[in-house]
């Protein structure tokens, strides 16, 4: 079985048209035509006539959940989500950034999504390796079954084999490449702090110049701020113009959190984010 992208695109268009015509939503967050087929854009349809611009193909990797917080609370939003994106939506609901009843979730079952820059398939390498949305109101295709499932943590093998010193050297080297364009935090659906700590200057948490200590301050703080919240969509790594493998750190922390607290981020609306919830039986491993 392969994904019929054209069919999903048609369903996405018809659902969007229906929702906009019936006035059920104010905006539809989907994908639109870019400057060529391999470069679709995140797209917002506001009226039924906008819908003709909607596309869906294997290059639609962008996580539309990133745009939810941009609209005033109470805005009725329809959003197209793939598996990881649906987890971001759940996580945003858990964190009370949006209400479930304000959303119409258009689920897209898909695998084989490709990074437009490299053409590489992102499934489990840089995303969570799930194919079906966790939550949806309408599913725009058939649920994926029988497709081999690879653990999203498999790519960590090489990283986990490194000892503490080697990991430090690895991140020092990788983060030294950073040009501080902040594409990673801007592409991240969970990075919605306003202002971001690194933009504050009273107190000033980190330096603005792209040098070792400022880069470490920015990235290590961001990494940890996403602990138990990162839903592994991999957008940060795809957004990075200098190809820093940010997903490795996020996956490692997500794996640790899952082992320690028995829950993955963005899997259920009923969950509380792991690090804001206290249970007596919680692991004390972190203190050891």
């Amino acid at each position: 079985m392969s994904i019929n992208f054209k069919q999903i695109e048609e369903k996405l268009k018809s659902e969007a048209t229906k929702l906009l015509e019936e006035g059920k939503v104010g905006v539809v967050l989907a994908y639109g035509k870019g400057y060529d087929e391999n470069h679709p854009l995140p797209f917002v349809a506001r009226k039924a006539s906008d819908v003709e611009n909607i596309v869906f193909n294997e290059y639609c990797t962008a996580n539309m959940a990133r745009y939810i917080v941009r609209y005033p609370r109470g805005t009725k939003i329809a959003i197209a989500v793939k598996a990881a994106d649906s987890r971001a939506v759940i996580q945003l609901i858990q964190e009370d950034k949006v209400k479930r009843e304000d959303l119409v979730i258009l689920g897209i079952p898909a695998y084989g999504m490709k990074n437009a820059k490299t053409g590489e398939v992102v499934d489990s390498k840089t995303t969570c390796g799930m194919y079906n949305p966790v939550i949806y109101d309408t599913l725009l295709g058939e649920e994926v079954h029988g497709q081999s499932v690879v653990s999203p943590y498999d790519v960590l093998a090489e990283y986990e084999a490194m000892d503490k010193e080697a990991r430090w050297a690895f991140w020092k080297k990788e983060l030294d490449k950073c040009i501080r364009c902040y594409a990673c935090r801007k592409a991240c659906p969970m990075c919605y702090c306003d202002p971001c700590f690194i933009d504050q200057n009273k107190p000033k948490w980190g330096e603005k110049s792209p040098e070792s200590h400022g880069n470490l301050m920015y990235h290590l703080t961001r990494f940890h701020h996403l602990a138990g919240r990162c839903i592994d969509c991999g957008e940060c790594s795809r957004a990075c113009p200098v190809d820093i493998p940010l997903y490795l750190f996020h996956k490692k922390v997500a794996k640790d959190c899952e082992e320690m607290f028995g829950q993955a981020a963005g899997m259920s609306i009923e969950d509380k984010p792991a690090l804001v919830n206290f249970r007596v039986e919680d692991s004390d491993k972190i203190l050891e």
Binding site: G32, G34, Y35, D36, H39, P40, L41, P42, F43, V44, A62, R66, Y67, R70, A116, K117, K177, I179, R180, C181, Y182, A183, R185, K186, A187, D194, P195, D199, E207, K208, S209, P210, E211, H213, G214, E235, R238, A239, C240, P241, V242, D243
Partner: protein
């Protein structure tokens, strides 16, 4: 006019290294970037274009001005000297060479001279390098829209192009002439090669990247008229994440911030690239921010390049290198925006 064999390029690199600092494209994880060369064998002309623009040769992302110690008198603060050796900036594509001329307007052309930019410009000899006109341009490029040829020597001191296994080099400015005459690793080019060079420069004028007819004054006026059409800009910026990737890779973005960075008592006052796409770029001391919305910031970027700049300096501040489009995390394309503005 001179020539050398491509496989002897390291001899030329070695000779340039003997005369000063050589900066050339080096392959890195994410693509090629201009870096200081330490070993002549590193020079590799098999690149399309660099990830970051070569502007950092004259306008580095971080430029230190003054070093100070907070426990000492301000009179003890030390100015940072540039101490430049001659620099050879090797392998600059024609669109990027053109960007240096646009940047000269800001850093030395309007009466206020930036000593750092000026000293670096004076110390540097630019070796331009023609695009291969027999291979199609990258889908993001649109320099022909901005009237820049694929093999335009303008903006370079020495201009280079490949012909089979040979690299042809021609002096464009007196600075380039003096340098070429002093290089012993080069041979004289034949009349036939001279003709090939001129023919390629001419053919490069007809080489088409993505193209739309853009007249400086027309687009400037069009954007001026569109400025208050909020709906247009909101639509354009729906996808924009408001990160700084486009401005940092851009060869003609020149905004910077001056920061004092102090660790314990020792510090440095430095200039660091800033971007109009950042929320805090326009944050005023009072707490007021005139550009709080994404559309206002993207509008500023487009209008600065295609409208304000034309009205103030008579030239569009964009060279169509395609870097912003290639590196935008959400595939926003400045060419399409300009095209849409023209049609709006």
């Amino acid at each position: 006019m001179k020539k050398t064999s491509i496989n002897k390029i390291s001899d030329l690199a070695a000779e340039l290294l003997g005369k000063g600092t050589l900066v050339a494209p080096v392959k890195e994880d994410a693509g090629f970037n201009f870096r200081e060369i330490s070993n002549a064998g590193q020079v590799d002309l098999n690149f399309y274009n660099t990830l970051m623009s070569p502007k950092s040769a004259f306008f580095p992302q971080t430029e230190d001005f003054v070093r100070y110690d907070k426990n000492k008198s301000v009179l003890d603060a030390q100015c940072v000297d540039l101490n430049l050796k001659p620099v050879f900036l090797f392998g600059v594509r024609p669109c990027d060479a053109k960007s240096f001329q646009i940047m000269d307007i800001h850093f030395s052309g309007t009466g206020v001279v930036d000593p750092y930019w000026k000293k670096r410009r004076e110390a540097t000899t630019v070796f331009g390098y023609a695009f291969d006109i027999n291979t199609p341009a990258d889908g993001a490029d649109f320099y022909s829209t901005l009237n820049i040829g694929a093999a335009d020597p303008e903006g370079s001191d020495v201009f280079m192009m490949k012909r089979g296994d040979e690299l042809l080099l021609k002096a464009v400015t007196p600075k380039g002439e003096t340098l070429l005459a002093s290089l012993t690793s080069l041979a004289d080019a034949s009349a036939d090669e001279q003709k090939y060079f001129d023919d390629t420069v001419a053919a490069g004028r007809d080489f088409k990247t993505r193209f739309t007819c853009v007249d400086d004054k027309v687009i400037a006026k069009k954007l001026e008229d569109l400025f208050h059409k909020t709906e247009f800009w909101e639509k354009i910026s729906d996808a924009c994440l408001s990160c700084g990737a486009c401005t940092f890779v851009c060869p003609t973005c020149y905004c910077f911030d001056i920061c004092d960075e102090t660790l314990f008592s020792k510090g440095v006052r430095r200039r660091v690239w800033d971007a109009c796409m950042f929320t805090d770029f326009t944050l005023e001391a009072s707490g007021h921010n005139p550009r709080t919305k994404v559309y206002q910031r993207l509008r500023q970027k487009i209008c600065h390049k295609y409208s304000f700049h034309v009205r103030k300096y008579g030239v569009i501040s964009c060279v169509g290198c395609g870097r912003c489009t290639r590196n935008c995390p959400v595939n926003i394309d400045i060419f399409s925006i300009v095209d849409e503005a023209l049609k709006a």
